[in-house]
């Protein structure tokens, strides 16, 4: 095989990985803080895309402004959902999972009723293609990866430096101890799901110009997100990043070298093996 083809595969994998990373970071955060297996996360992504569509195409706002607005709006939706639906079920895996499925249904219907059933798309913001040693990639994808990187790094800085960030980390490690140290679990939960939802929305909004979106796109992504989260070790954010890229490369290479279904299979198989051979995931703690 030529070098350029190999390089192309590598680039594709990196792109997929960075997209997954942004999406799954929120999922990990929500699981880590609230132990909620949030099936509605993909729907938050979908809502993010539609929100950008609404602000950008229908209100004619600037794309980046719409992106920020979308993050805020969806973040608030997430917080509201947590307050109304998840609070009573805190710490119960399966009930909260079922609840999140119900939420997903409702979000889908809401999207259908508001935006209709047709596939939607947003005009590309960064037209053009760049060529790296024979591997070509559209500028918009590069930008998506860059912006996701910025967002994730920003989020990490927030997590490491700010008071709330430290509170979150404390809760992720040991809720009871954190509570004893006077951390307000409610605040942290709201903040956590808010940020998680905002990150999902950001992913949706960023990929809206690259791909097309419709009300039913959520669940497929959510499962990929779950694979990444489990692979990375449930509550470990660095693990999530690592896992996202691993899955990205698997998808890229196996699709290109074998075929798409085989790629899906590899994803599921790896998830199963990791969970059974190393339940704490790649970078998780015992």
């Amino acid at each position: 095989m030529e070098l350029s083809t190999f390089l192309q595969m590598f680039v594709n994998g990196t792109m997929i990985g960075s997209q997954l990373a942004l999406f799954a970071t929120g999922l990990t955060l929500v699981y880590g803080i609230m132990l909620i297996i949030n099936f509605a996360h993909g729907e938050l992504y979908m809502l993010g895309a539609f929100a950008v569509f609404f602000f950008c195409e229908q209100l004619g706002l600037n794309y980046f402004l719409s992106l920020i607005l979308a993050m805020i709006v969806v973040g608030l939706i997430g917080i509201a959902a947590e307050r109304i639906f998840f609070k009573p079920l805190r710490g119960q895996h399966i009930p909260s999972f079922v609840m999140s499925c119900g939420l997903a249904f409702m979000f889908q219907v809401a999207a259908v009723l508001t935006f209709g059933i047709k596939d939607k798309a947003i005009d590309s913001v960064f037209p053009g293609v760049v060529n790296i040693l024979g591997a070509s990639v559209s500028v918009e994808r590069l930008m998506v990866s860059l912006i996701s990187a910025v967002l994730i790094i920003g989020f990490y800085i927030f997590l490491l430096r700010s008071r709330y960030g430290r509170a979150m980390r404390a809760v992720m490690q040991d809720p009871d101890a954190a509570a004893l140290q006077g951390v307000s679990i409610n605040q942290v939960c709201s903040l956590g799901i808010g940020i998680g939802a905002a990150l999902a929305a950001a992913a949706g909004g960023l990929l809206a110009p690259v791909f097309i979106f419709n009300p039913w796109m959520g669940p497929v992504l959510t499962w990929e997100g779950f694979i990444v989260v489990c692979l990375g070790g449930k509550t470990s954010l660095p693990g999530t990043l690592l896992a996202a890229f691993i899955l990205g490369y698997i998808k890229s290479f196996v699709t290109t070298l074998v075929d798409p279904v085989a790629a899906l299979m590899c994803g599921a198989a790896i998830l199963g093996l990791i969970l059974t051979l190393r339940p704490q995931g790649l970078l998780g703690h015992e």
Partner: protein, 330 residues
């Protein structure tokens, strides 16, 4: 206690008789179909709950249901076996496969088990998609033979064709009642008691001498066998198997039926399944809104009835009694 038991049995028998009489009232083939499918779904939901009695939630359950369907369908199509032979064999095969799937999963527990079982179930499902021979790929299997006629001397022959509705109804009803009875007895048995202990605390269970993984495996295999039974019945009823129908979609629904109905009580999944199936049918005029209604129902249930819909009567009846008392006072 004893009288309570009697009322219980009387009411149960009454209900069963009612179920057998339904075809006399309900003439519409459409409602026959809805009920027939409902009985199959009840088998699956109840067996799902049987797994939950050990405290684990399995996402491989629905794929294993599909496996039962594929196994018996292939036996009937490729080897030309009769339905009455293919069904038990299919169930057996699926049960054996469930061992392969659950063995690795048993190293995990809780959320990990949830996802591990999902992963292995999904791998199996993708096998059907990828290997067109013999599974037929995404197109699935078509023209799966229907059950051959039951021919008891002295009685009229019972034919199963695409036009027969009542025979199917009774077929599924009988299989459902049989499955429910067995699972009920199993839960009342020592195995059930052990499951309860395991659910409470695996550590302590092991320290009173229970081989936790072994009993879990036994329970999972039994549950999978019943799921496979449901799948096999489904296959020979619709005569069509498509892998996508055993994707997480149905898995989530089964989980919802069981949890919303109430996994704590034997009748929970039955209630859940019935409620959701009927809601689906009653809302046919507004299909787009069905998921919304599902969402509202389960949100309300989880918020106000933590033990599930099954606990609704016990929650409401006191109010009614109070109300009656007040009325009497006036």
């Amino acid at each position: 206690m004893n009288s309570n038991n009697r009322t219980k049995w009387i009411s149960l028998i009454a209900v069963v008789i009612l179920l057998f009489l339904i075809p006399l009232f309900v003439k519409s083939p459409y409602w026959m179909l809805v009920l027939t499918l409902m009985w199959i779904h009840i088998i699956v939901a109840e067996s799902f709950r049987y797994i939950v009695t050990t405290g684990e939630y399995s996402f491989a359950h629905v794929p294993l249901m599909g496996m039962g369907g594929y196994a018996s369908a292939l036996l009937a199509m490729k080897l030309g076996l009769s339905f009455w032979l293919a069904l038990p064999l299919g169930v057996l095969i699926a049960a054996l496969i469930s061992i392969i799937i659950y063995y690795p999963c048993l190293k995990t527990t809780g959320t990990f088990f949830f996802f591990a079982s999902f992963a292995f179930g999904e791998v199996m499902r993708l096998c059907w998609v990828r290997f067109r021979v013999p599974f037929g790929g995404v197109g699935g299997l078509r023209d799966i033979p229907r059950p051959d006629a039951i021919n008891i001397p002295g009685l009229p022959t019972v034919e199963f064709t695409f036009l027969t509705h009542v025979p199917y109804y009774y077929l599924m009803l009988v299989f459902m009642l049989f499955s429910l009875l067995i699972m009920y007895l199993l839960e009342r048995s020592r195995l059930g008691a052990i499951a309860a202990a395991v659910k409470e605390s695996k550590v302590l269970a092991s320290f009173v001498g229970i081989r936790v993984w072994w009993y879990e495996m036994v329970i999972f295999v039994i549950a999978s066998a019943f799921a496979a039974l449901g799948g096999s019945l489904y296959a020979h009823y619709t005569t069509l198997l498509v892998p996508i129908e055993f994707y997480w979609g149905l898995g989530i629904y089964v989980c919802i039926w069981a949890v919303v109905g109430g996994t704590g009580h034997f009748a929970g999944p039955i209630v859940g399944t019935i409620v959701f199936s009927l809601v689906r049918e009653f809302l046919r005029p507004i299909p787009q809104l069905v998921p919304m209604v599902y969402g509202l129902i389960l949100a309300a249930t989880l918020a106000f009835l933590p033990e599930g819909l099954i606990s609704l009567p016990s929650k409401i009846l006191p109010w009614i009694e109070k109300g009656l008392a007040k009325v009497k006072e006036r």
